[in-house]
Structures are given as C-alpha cells and as structure tokens.
C-alpha cells in the first residue's frame, strides 16, 4: 500500500468531475420534487440519457450535440411518467420504478451496437488567469465545460426558486396543490414542465457518465447513480445549496475509494466499492431531512 501516491490536488479535482453526474440528476429531481412529484425513475432516465448522448455524440462526433440528445432523450422518457402520473393518476412510486426498469431495458437495446466504441473527446477548458492560480486553479478551473454547466444550473435553479414568480408558483403547487389550483394555477401543466426538466437533467447526468467520466457505453453503467441522486435530494432538504454540498460529499467518497483501490489498500476491492452506497445510507440516517414539500407524491385530481 502506498498512500503517498494519492495526490490531494488531483483528488479534489477529480472530486468535482465525479460529483457532476449526480449533481445534474439531483438538481433536476429537486425541481420535480419541489413541484410535488416524486419521480423514482431517475436511474432509468439517466441511463437512457447516457445511451442517447453516446449514440448522438458518436454519430455527429460532437459531444455538445450528444448532451443535447441526452437531454431530449431523458425528457421524452420522463413524458411517459408525466402522462401516467398526471393524466392517468397512477401511483408515483410504482410508475417511477416502472420507468427505471423500462429505461434499463431500452438503453440496453439502443446501446447494442455501441459497446467498445470510444466517445469523441471532450477537451477540458483551461480557463485563462483563474486556471493558472496555484492549487485552486487545477482543482476548480481546469475542467470540461459540463462541470460548469452543472454548477450554473444549480445556481440558476436556486435563483429561480427563490426570486422568480414562476419559482414561487412551482413551490406553491408542490406545497399545496389544492390551494394552487384554487388560485388559478395549472397544477398539471406546472408539474409536467417540472417533470420534463427533471428528465432532461437526468439525461445530461447520464451522458456525462458515458461521454466524459468513463467515456464508453456499457450496459447498466449508471450503477445506482440515479438512486444516489434521489438520496441527495432528501439529504439536501430540497434546497439547491445543500444539494451541491451533498453531491461533492458523494463525489469525494467515490473518488477516495477509487484512489484507495489504486493505491492497493488491504481492504478488498468489493468492500471499497460498497463505500458510496454505505455512505448514502449513513448520511440518510445522520442527517435529519428537512420538511418535504407538502404535496409530495400525491396525485392531483381537480374534482371542482
């Protein structure tokens, strides 16, 4: 074992990369849950996004178009969930599970001819001036653009929920859909938009795995990242700021265990690989979740 082979700067830098897919998926789910909808299909949308992004990126050789395709793919898949839960009033827990099972199958089918192919390169940005700062530069300012896109989405959602009128409506729909309906807001329309945004974000997160982090397509490659994203939303008490903290915490655990594996620690590889999942459970236990949105998980039927 050689712990000195672990470079703390590289560790922190890869932490940001490892956290990005979970962060993207989690911020989408946060918006969905703030609108009062519990979509347990994040894993399915993520893996569908991963395969859509990979297929488009390979076909067009443009990672950016790949990410666009992933967002569209995730959003399209989430429409199934939205239609079932919002218009046919199905149970959200069961429908979310169905979405995950369906997404896993769909992605395996779509990705059949793409196993073993390499994704087009997605170069890192070396941000001038900021990237040259010692220590902080390599950790924060020398990543691929999607890391910053993820951060921008989180900041944007924070501002949207806190300051914008539309954000207030979304929160009202999530807290009490009867009251929001009585005030004349279109509960189902708001929720459908939120669900699609959640799907698009989950798709981006999945594509980040297949285009940047791995960067290859393998079946079942999300390996529970979507579920961890769901856990982080609970951990964050449905607040974007804490979401960032949660995602980086999990990125940290993931990167650390990978580094320990590489350094040849005397703990079995399998036990180190359990770490992110066990950490998720530990955090769910230790951190008392804040108050969930009032109408979370309930179907809305305007009986007038």
């Amino acid at each position: 074992m050689d712990l000195s082979s672990i470079n703390p700067i590289l560790l922190l830098a890869s932490l940001m990369v490892a956290a990005t897919p979970i962060l993207l998926a989690a911020i989408g789910e946060l918006v969905v849950e703030r609108a009062g909808v519990l979509n347990l299909g994040v894993e399915g949308m993520m893996i569908t996004g991963a395969v859509c992004g990979f297929v488009v990126a390979v076909a067009t050789t443009s990672p950016w178009l790949g990410f666009l395709g992933a967002a569209v793919g995730g959003a399209l898949l989430s429409l199934i969930f939205g239609f079932l839960t919002q218009f046919l009033l199905s149970n959200q827990v069961a429908t979310g599970l169905a979405l995950t099972l369906f997404g896993l199958g769909l992605s395996a089918l779509m990705g059949q001819g793409y196993i073993g192919i390499k994704a087009p390169a997605f170069p890192d940005w070396h941000i001038p001036l900021l990237g040259d700062i010692p220590v902080i530069g390599p950790i924060v300012f020398q990543h691929d653009p999607m890391v910053y896109v993820g951060l921008a989405i989180v900041a944007g959602i924070w501002a949207f929920l806190k300051y914008s009128r539309a954000g207030l409506i979304l929160r009202a729909v999530g807290e009490n859909h009867e009251a929001a309906h009585a005030l004349g807001y279109h509960v189902v329309r708001v929720r459908m938009l939120a669900i699609m945004f959640g799907g698009a974000c989950a798709g981006l997160g999945g594509a980040y795995l297949s285009l940047v982090r791995v960067p290859q397509w393998t079946e079942g490659m999300t390996a529970g990242a979507g579920w961890i994203a769901l856990a982080i939303v609970v951990f964050a008490s449905w607040r974007p700021g804490r979401l960032l903290l949660g995602a980086y915490l999990f990125g940290g655990v993931t990167v650390l265990q990978l580094n320990l594996q590489a350094a040849g620690v005397a703990i079995g590889v399998e036990y180190l690989s359990m770490a992110p999942y066990l950490a998720t459970i530990a955090v769910l236990v230790i951190m008392r979740a804040g108050r969930a949105p009032g109408s979370l998980g309930q179907s809305f039927h305007a009986s007038r």
Partner: protein, 359 residues
C-alpha cells in the same frame, strides 16, 4: 371533452379486467417494437407467449415455468404485504442475494458431511439472511425515519458487491482451480434442492411458493393481521386509532418480504443455479415488483402473474436463440407491461365521462 370522474369505490369488474387489458396492450405494442426490430411481430409474440407451453419442445420448457416462476411468486408474495401497507421494500434483489449467500454458506460449512439436517438448516439460514438484510431499512425507518425505498435499494448494490467478494473469496471452491464461484451445491446431496418429481421442475422452492400463496391468502383475508395491513395502507390514521402500531407493522412487513426473498435465493442457489457466482442474481427481485402489481397484490393474482412473467423469461430465451431477438427487448416488454397496468388502472378508480363544458 373527456373528463375523469372519481368512482365512489373501485370498480370490481375493472379490478379483474385491467391486468388482462394491460397484457393485451403489451402484446400489441410489444409487436410494434418487434416489428421495429425487424422481426415478424406475430411469430415473435407466439414464440414468447405460446411456444413455451405448446410447441414440440414444450416438455422441456414447462418445468422451466415452475423453476422461473417460484422465486418470482415467493418474492412478490412477500412484497405484497408491504406494498398494501405503504411500505416500499424495493431491495428484494439484495435480500435474495444475501439469503442465497447465508444458505449456501451453511451448506458449504458442512461439506462433505451427509445428513438430512443440512438442507433444513440451509433453509433457515437463507430465510434468516434475507430477513436480516431487510431489517436494516426497516429498523432505520422506524428508528431514524429514513426512507426505506432508498436504503433498501442502496443495499442491493452493497449485496452485489458482497456476492462478488464471496464468489471470489470466502466461498470460492477450493478445488475450483482458482475459478470464481463456490462448490456446486446441486451436486452435494445433503444440500441440493432437487426436483421432488423428476423432470417436473417441482423443487422445494416451488412447494414453498404454493404454501406461501395459501398462507398469504388466509392471512390477508381471514386474519386480523391482514386486516391491519390493508387498513394501514388505506388509512394510516384510522389504523392508529384501531391500535395498530405502525413501527411494528413496518418491521413485520419488511421481515416477511426479506425472509421470502431470502428463501427464494436459497432455493435458487441450491437448485437451478447450483453455486454462488458473480452473476448469480438475474433481477428476480425487481421483476417480482412487476409481478406483485400485475397480480393486484392479491396472492392468487400473484400466482398467475408470476406464471405469466416466467413465461416471458422462457419465451424471451427461446426468441433469443431462435429469432435472435435481443434479451433487452424482453426487459422492455416487462417494463411496458407495468406501464400499461398502471395506466389502465385509472379505469378502476375513475369513470371516463364526456362533457361538452370546457374546463
């Protein structure tokens, strides 16, 4: 425009009709999917749904129906209690794995001794292993209020890593020339879950599944426990007034589902699978969720749904080898079935009416 009008109580007719309607819709849209994949839809659907039962090789496939159906029914029966009470144990796959590991470990510990007591001990260990694994999310929910959906699901990934570690380490066959995987339990007479009637597919897991269906039916419809479970799902507040302790109910429901999933794992590892290996689990724990819903969380319904789902597994394998249909298409078909079931369920609880008035 079309409007939904809530029924005063769920329609009995549609309760029975919706699963059938969902299956028909799945066949229709599945056919479209197969056509899109360049297959003849009619031939593919016949291969998946009919050939396992009626083709000239059906004698080979019919026993498979019991072998594949038993774990699905066992797990789904366990899950149905929790699902009725609003307790979402979706980590049955993990409990299935841990049950198999514990049961196999007990059997392997006795190797090569022969005794009639070994197999019963393994059954106990399997049930206990699954129960313990399910107790983790149960106790965490009761004690700390954590979400059992997320914890039980996380534990599936932990269990998969544990399985890999066992197949490569503690339980590896010492005479296996270093290959991963344990000794073959089905070739170790005292530990083998053999067919009770040769060639029928009827092993002890199948028997247990049938017993579970009967016990669950009696418990749900004739016993106060079943009443409490149903009451807690429909009205948690009323259940509390009636003296149901919600914490105890959570633990019992988790224990039942965990123990049955563990049993399913044990019967699989000692029989059809034979050994602990890295790819031992094939997703029965997740498919059982579909089975539970398709069977309307009713024991008899689950029995039928388990049979149907086993059919798609077997038919899928036939379609894969005969027609070259990718196995992922079957996974999509199963997901589709759950979607359609949830979608047409609206007919059970709502009446569709036509109104001229614009909303």
């Amino acid at each position: 425009m079309l409007m939904l009008e809530k029924r005063p109580q769920p329609s009995r007719g549609w309760t029975f009709a919706t699963p059938i309607l969902a299956v028909v819709l799945t066949m229709l849209f599945g056919g479209l999917l197969f056509a899109a994949l360049g297959q003849d839809p009619l031939v593919t659907i016949r291969t998946i749904f009919l050939d396992p039962l009626f083709s000239e090789f059906a004698w080979f496939y019919r026993p498979q129906l019991l072998i594949k159906g038993a774990p699905l029914v066992l797990i789904a029966i366990g899950l149905s209690f929790g699902f009725r009470a609003g307790i979402w144990n979706i980590g049955a796959e993990g409990q299935y794995i841990v049950g198999a590991i514990c049961g196999a470990a007990v059997g392997l510990a006795f190797y090569p001794m022969e005794s009639f007591i070994i197999f019963p001990l393994m059954i106990l260990a399997g049930a206990f292993g699954g129960l313990l694994w399910a107790m983790i999310p149960g106790i965490l929910r009761v004690r700390f209020g954590t979400n059992e959906i997320l914890v039980s699901l996380m534990l599936v990934y932990v269990a998969e890593q544990l399985l890999a570690s066992m197949a490569l380490g503690a339980l590896r066959n010492p005479d296996g020339m270093g290959f991963p995987g344990s000794r073959n339990l089905s070739q170790y007479e005292s530990a083998a879950n053999l067919e009770i009637i040769a060639g029928s597919g009827m092993h002890w897991g199948v028997v247990t599944a049938f017993i579970a269906v009967i016990v669950a039916y009696v418990a749900l419809s004739r016993h106060i426990f079943g009443f409490n479970v149903r009451l807690s799902g429909q009205s948690p507040r009323a259940a509390r007034f009636a003296g149901v302790n919600p914490s105890v109910l959570v633990l019992i429901c988790m224990a039942i589902s965990g123990a049955l999933a563990g049993l399913a794992g044990l019967f699989e590892v000692a029989g059809p699978a034979g050994q602990i290996s890295i790819d031992f689990n094939v997703g029965y724990g997740f498919t059982a969720i579909i089975v539970a819903f398709l069977g309307r969380l009713h024991p008899v319904g689950i029995l039928l749904a388990g049979g149907l789902m086993a059919l798609t597994y077997i038919g899928g394998e036939i379609a894969q080898s005969n027609l070259g249909l990718p196995i992922a298409a079957i996974q999509i078909l199963q997901g589709m079935l759950l979607f359609f079931l949830l979608a047409v369920d609206v007919l059970t609880n709502y009446r569709i009416t036509w109104t001229r008035q614009v909303a």
